[in-house]
Structures are given as C-alpha cells and as structure tokens.
Symmetry: D2
Subunit: 282 residues, 4 copies
C-alpha cells in the first residue's frame, strides 16, 4: 500500500553488471512516479559488479517497488530501500576524549545526522563528559573477564539500544571474531595511522621511529583482522623532525576526529558500499 506523505528514501543496488541496468531501475522508479533526487552508480569492471545509490522522493509503495525491481534485476542482486535521514549509534570508548567529544558536539549541534543512543567504555574516564551531554554512559570493565566474556557483555549492552552502527571512537581493545561477525558492516573504527602503514599498537611511536614526514588516520569497517577492514576515509598532516611521538599524537588527534566524522557522514548518508576489502562511495 502506498504511503500518503512525501518521503525521501535511498535505494541501494549491488548486482552483476548487465547492459541496461540503469535504464531498467530508473524506469521502474519513474513508473512509480518517484523523483530521482540524486543517482550515482559505479561499475567495477574487474569484478563485473554494478553498484547504484538512488535517492528518491515521492509517495512510496515499498513492497511493490521492490517486487517490480526483483522482476528485472539479475539473480544475485542485493537491494535495499531505506528511509533517508537520522541514524542511531552506540559509541565505544576507552580513555581518549577527542573523537567522542566531536561526535557529541556534532550530534547535539549539527554536522552529523545521528543520535548517540549510549556510550560504553571499558574504563570510567569519560563518564562525566558523556553525562554532560545527557547521554547514558555504561562502564563494561574488561577486568577479570576473558576477551570472549567481555565482548559478550559489551554486545549485550550495545544490543539493548538496537543501533544502526557501532562506532569505535578510540576503543583500544582487540575484538573477538564472534563480536565482529555479530555486527556485519556495522562496526566503524578510527585507527591512528595512515593504514596500511603502522598497523597495530603505538602507531605514532612507530611513525616517529621511522622518521616519516606525514602522519595520518584511517576510518574503516572492522572485519576479522585487526586494522584490516575496508577503508572508508583517510587523511594526513605534515610533521617534521621537531615532532616527538607525543607531538605527533597531539597533532594527530585532530586528524583522527575529522576522518572519523567524515567517514560517518558518508555511512549515515548510505553512500558507502562494501565489496571485498574495498569501499565504493557513491
């Protein structure tokens, strides 16, 4: 049944590439009297994969629209139709405030279409900051628990809020495969180096030792391997010989928070498609 108010929705399509896909998809939208506000598509010629993001406006009959699409789209097509607009996240933290602070500010004062349902920390350090913004903070300490137990307790706490995404805002714990698989394409991490340089712990110290002239940060989806998921956004700044590892850390904080929030901005707008270990951003 068709809704009675004008809505904006995002249709995301991934399928094997075929001649005429754009024509077929957009014709169907057209036949539903939907206006295409924005359409972006990409064909990965190496894998023969077609990706399309279609921003639609009008009166939607979701069921019929998807059924009409399924009739013409090749088998093996993944398609989803989601409401545009505000999303809901849970943020995981340890002790560092800068990425969290930026998310709190942007959620409250504009910049990210996001509600922070809760913040969960394995330390209590950031409770006061979170509570200043009237958002629930939960301490889920890892002390006395195995990694598996701790992750299970984290997941339990997270799932109470049914978030669209879980943002690791300098959450300094390695995640178990069980935890990661529980949130497919929902976990977004900020790593404090320009990946794949300086994987693992203490990247600024590694960068200092190597004598690099540029440092960076990387926001990525988390998959099974540490610091190995599909990259969403990266940025860098110049450093020189006068920077100690601590100076790099301080300067890097601004890059980290910028990169994380830029990545999240695109994810929230449903612009990011994951394919293998790469992202397509439409």
């Amino acid at each position: 049944m068709q809704s009675q108010t004008i809505q904006r929705k995002i249709l995301r399509t991934i399928c094997p590439d075929e001649k005429g896909l754009i024509a077929q998809i957009t014709s169907i939208c057209f036949s539903h009297h939907l206006n295409i506000v924005q359409n972006n598509e990409y064909v990965d010629h190496r894998s023969g994969r077609f990706f399309m993001r279609t921003e639609l406006e009008g009166l939607f009959d979701d069921e019929r629209l998807l059924a009409d699409l399924d009739r013409v789209l090749p088998s093996g097509t993944q398609r989803e139709l989601n409401q545009a607009g505000r999303r809901r996240i849970v943020v995981l933290v340890t002790k560092e405030a800068h990425c969290l602070g930026d998310l709190l500010m942007k959620s409250a004062y504009g910049g990210l279409d996001v509600d922070i349902a809760a913040v969960i920390g394995n330390h209590d350090t950031l409770r006061i900051l979170v509570e200043r913004f009237d958002i629930p903070f939960h301490l889920v300490s890892h002390e006395g628990f195995s990694r598996e137990e701790h992750d299970a307790r984290m997941a339990e706490q997270i799932d109470r809020y049914s978030p669209d995404y879980v943002v690791l805002a300098k959450y300094m714990r390695v995640l178990t495969p069980t935890f990661v698989r529980h949130y497919p394409n929902q976990l977004i991490n900020i790593h404090h180096s320009f990946l794949p340089a300086f994987i693992g712990a203490k990247p600024y110290h590694q960068a200092y030792e190597r004598g690099v002239k540029i440092i960076g940060a990387t926001a990525h989806y988390v998959n099974d391997d540490l610091d190995e998921g599909p990259i969403i956004s990266q940025d860098v700044i110049n450093v020189d010989h006068t920077y100690t590892a601590e100076d790099m850390m301080r300067a890097g904080r601004d890059v980290e928070k910028n990169v994380l929030s830029r990545a999240l901005y695109r994810v929230l707008a449903q612009r990011v498609f994951v394919y293998g270990n790469r992202t397509i951003i439409l």
Copy 2:
C-alpha cells in the same frame, strides 16, 4: 548508417531537469545495443538543470541515436556525441617554461591524451625548448601592434591548426573580448593564485604583502573578464614567513603546472560542463 567497428564515444547532455531523464536516455542507448561504460549525472536543483555524461561503447549510428534522443528530450536540450580519446591543442606562452615543459613531457611520454599542434609565443624565449620536442613554434610579437591587431594575428596563427582547445600556459597578456568570443569554452588559462584572491598582476607579490600562509593556482576557462571565467581546478601549498615573493614564485610553479595539467586532463576526457560561471565535472 551504423559503423562497423566498436567505438567509444561520449554523450553529453544538458537540459532542464525532468522526471525520468536518466531512464529515457539510458533506455535509448540500451535500445541501440550500446554498452554504458560509465554514466555520471548531476542535477543542479537551484537552476533546475540536468547534466549527464555517458561513456558508450559499441557500434554507433550517430544520426539515428541523436534523432531518437531529440524525440524524448525536452526542448532547449544541448547534447553532443563525441569520439573519446586524443585531442589537439595549441599552447600560448610568454617566457616561463614550467607549464609548457610539463605539457610537452606529458604529450610525448604519457599523462595527457593530447597532441600539441603548435606553440605560439609573444616572445621567442621558449623556441628552443619547443623545437627540442619537434613541435612548431611561432613567434607572434606584440611589439608595434595594438592589442586588437595582435590578438587577430594570434587567432590567425592558431586557427591554422584547428585545435580543440587553446591552452594559455603562462601567457602573460590580457585578451581582447573579440579573441575570447572566438574560442567559446575552448580557452583554458592557468592563473598563479588561488582565485578569487589576488586577481591581476603579480599575485605572489600580493600574497607576500598580505602575509598569507597558503598560496595556490587556478585553472579556468577564459571569458570576457580577466581572471573571472569558470574555475576547473585549484590547488594550494603551505608557505611561511621565510618565503620571499620569489620563493613563493618558485614553489608556486609546481602547483601551477599540476593544476593546469589536472584541469586539462578532465577537459580532454570531456568531463567538464560549463554552466554560468561554474563548472560541473562529471
């Protein structure tokens, strides 16, 4: 009549926005058994204008394809169908070698799909460099001529080569309106500042005097007003208090040549659409 060899062509469409345009255009391409290698489009909601670049591959019957498109596209549509691939330019210079040198290198050794038909200078300084690359150099001195006369002689020399574009690679002369109108959307200039900062002469000296911490360069189409045409590409570099105007000039040269060649790369790929004083790059 349909050609018998597989070709790659670019269809460029500008028209008033309407529901279903993408579907209609791509359906027609589809009905011609053409493969869409890449499709990019943009709607400027403020002006209600639709822009689309469609890269097509297959056996083309240009006349019939355009006729089919004209049947469905709104009145006032501008559309063109061009062969993809190598273009032909004439380069105008004065005395500075860096932008010219980069174009010569990229034309000869890869990086730009371009043939430099000729280089024309109002000074003879760069003749040797050009002739080293076995390209004709013409001196068209401005001495003893009015601006109008000189531009007319330039145009005469340029037009012998029927170039697709005329590239002003640090050609340090103000152009007459007659000259500019003779090459609509064909004149590409590199200005040695981050426009609209420091319009006019000696931008590095202006930048030095103002004490800026960043300098830049701007590649743009030339229209009637000096340094005022639609911007295609810009880039910047950091400077500090130790830079004299001369240091800025030296450091700026790399930015200038990079920006010019990036702009040209996009123009040659027929990705740049001009609308009013802005460019849409698809």
Copy 3:
C-alpha cells in the same frame, strides 16, 4: 634576585638586525647558567628586522637577565621574558557551537594549554553548552545599544577576567576601533574563508557563487580593518559542484575549528611575532 626552583621561560626579542646578535643573546643566557631548550630566529632582510624566540630552563634572575640584555641589544629593541605554560583566555561567541566546542574540549581534555576563564555571547544560544563544562557564560546583548556602547560593555565584562588573549570563536559582530585598540595583539579571530578571498559576510555563499573548487578558513589577529589583521594560520579543503553553500558551510566548520585551534596553539606557545601585517612563527 634569583628564583630557587628550575623554571622554563620564553625570551622574545625583536630588534634591528646587527651582526652578532645571536652570539650576544645566547652568551648572556649562557653566562646566567640557563639552558637553551630551543632557539629559533629569523631575519627579515627586507625590513632589516631580527626576531628570536629562546626557550630557556634554569634558575632565573629576570631583572638582571633583562638588564644584561639591554646593555648589548641595539636601541629600539623589544624584548620580553614570560613564563612558559598555561594561558588564560576569554572566548566571544554568537550562535555557532563548533569552534567553541573544540576549545572547551581541548581546554578540559588536553590539546591546548589554556584556561577558558569565561565565554561571552551576544546571544544566549550557547549558554547550556558552556555551563556543561562548568565555565561562566555571560550574555551581553547588543540589542538596544550602539556598536560603541555594546563593545564597551563587552570590554568591561572581558576585563574582569584579565585574559591573556580574547578569542573570537565565530563572534559575528564587527568590532569598533576603540575595542580593537584596547587589546593590542590579543584578539584572535577565525574567519570562514581563505583570506583575502571572500572578505566580509557570507563567504560560503560567495564561494558557491564563484564556483571555487577549494574553500578554507583563516585565523588572524584583529586590527582596525575588518578581516585584515595579520594571518596566523590557514587551511583548506576540496569541494566540487555537488556542494551547495550549505554543504560548504558544514564541511567548512571542521576547517574553521582546526585552523583556530592550530593558531591558538602557536600563540599560546609564544611562537607568533607580529610585524606590520605579517606574522613570523618561530
């Protein structure tokens, strides 16, 4: 009289350039058994001006040190010896939260050696945010007051806190010359454009209209002329034809806050020297 605890101080010297200045100044520091932690100097050859920042550690007898320096330094020398470390600011705001939020976060959680003594707004919009961080907020409305009267009331409120610097964190009011002169080299403003492009109001709208491909922000000292003081820091980001003026505004906010906090970091470290309309950053 010499202090009895090891301290760190910054000696800043500006004087006409002469042969042997570095030797003379550092020799005197040496004779006081002070360790030079860091020394940076710059000679502006155009103006014949010498600038030096010397970071010293040891037991200081300020009076004797300055007297010894005055004996050897040329007449017309400005020199100051200040404690290194934490400074005190008052922040002026209107309605936008992002720069203020970043300063509040960095003051509370590290990143800037600064105490925010108070925030003063000409609107009440940001009171809640400021009070969340347990910092006094004062509303000094401009309604019903002439510009001169309002500035006088602002100054009165500011001066109660005797700040080292006054930071205009998107304070959207033109300042009177009287106000500006009251805080020589103490007023730091963030302007939301890459100066000198787009001076004045609504720079993002100007940038949109001009079709630029890069936007930026500028932190500068305020002098008598609007947006004309010595530039401390600038940065930019890329934009394209898909950005509306509102998109530029949103993306620009991160640049604005980064640039302001980088400028402030250098000012707080007493690295910034003003000479004419330029800054020397040592």
Copy 4:
C-alpha cells in the same frame, strides 16, 4: 689565508649537545667578521645531539675558522664548511620519463640549483629525451651481468663525473650493499608509495588491492635495506574507488616528481642532516 671576495658558505655542525654551543659557534663566526644570513639549529633531546646549519657571508679563511671552531666544540663533532650554490648530480633511470623530465626542465629553466652531469640508464628508452637537453646519456645494460657486476659498471660510469649526489629517478633496480656504501648520504631515491606502506614492487597495485583512499610518494636516502633509508620528503593525493591501479600510477607520477624535486631542493641547499634513520631539515 683569507679570500679576497665576498662569498656565501654553509657551516654544518653535528655534535653532542652542550650548554652554550650556539653562543660559541656564532661568536667565532662573529669574530671572523662573517655575517650570519640564516641560522637554524635543532637539539634532539632523546639522543642529546645538536644540529646547526649556519649560512654565512663574508671573506672566509676556512682553515682558521675551522680551527677556531675545533678549539671550542666538543670531541666527536662533525662539522663541514661548504660553498653555497650549484651542485652536480648524475641521474639514474630505467624507462619512466616523468621524474627525469622534471629534473631536466628545472636544471635548464630554473627551480633547482643543479647541473645534470649525465644520465645513466639500464635501458635505452630515455636516451632521446636526455639528448634533447644536450646532456650525455649512457646505457649500462644489466643483461648478462650479475647484480654485483652491473652495479660495479654503473659506479664506474658515475664516478667519471664526480657528482655531489646520485639521483635515482625511477631507477627500478635493487642496489647492492657495495654500491650503496660507495655513496654514503649521496644516493637519493624516489619511491612510488607513502612509505612505510607498500614497500617493494608494484606499490600502486598493492594500494589498489588494499582499497586506500590516499596514495603518495617518498624521497629518501638509500641505505642497505630496500626502501628503508632516511626519509627526506613525502606527499600524497586523494584517490577513490573509481581509480584503477593504472589511474593511481598516472596520478601518482605528478606526486613522485614533486616529492623528488622538493627533496632535492633541500639537499642541494645543504639543509638535510641524517641522524640514524631520520632526517633533520634545517
């Protein structure tokens, strides 16, 4: 004996840090009636090492100046006094033209104070380009030779020109330790990735596979280990999912040549100090 014409020289000092070093060194220069055009120094507090670059102008008595310095400087001091100005290099190449072309242009038309004494290739591909600039090109083919033999033949050819530096402008061969040790701090390489990411062969393909959003280039001194020497300069550009490995290669070429020429600019100005695996650039 003192020279009779005003000269400009660079004094470079590396020694264990001690109180009063700047005062002592500059005092001695002062006592020689030398003008300090520019002085930059840095203390690495971790290693307790002092680095200073002093640009001097005047009538030099080198022997006496160095003797005076040796009297006051700590044991273990390395100091050198070199003429400022133009240096002499030999360039090694394989088949790619872009870095070489930029060096040829800047040597001939300004931008680098450098004479290219000769270009040596292990392929003949670039002979024509080099000879266009009236510079000798030597083919030293590696075919039929062991790595050791080939490097010995290269060194023999290089040494005929007694260059100050040997620049590897996309010379795609791994060097033997013997060769590397023969040119201590004289070998400058451009690596086509943002080191330490993507060490080794085909970095653009590695970058493509990893799905990075930024690619870069690194200029560094060559020491025994492949791609492991002290970094002089790095730069990056943004890429996205539309870039194939070949697109990255093309876009990366501009970064490579810029980074190499920026590194060389600093090396030629004798601003680069090597300490362990890091560079200090004064």
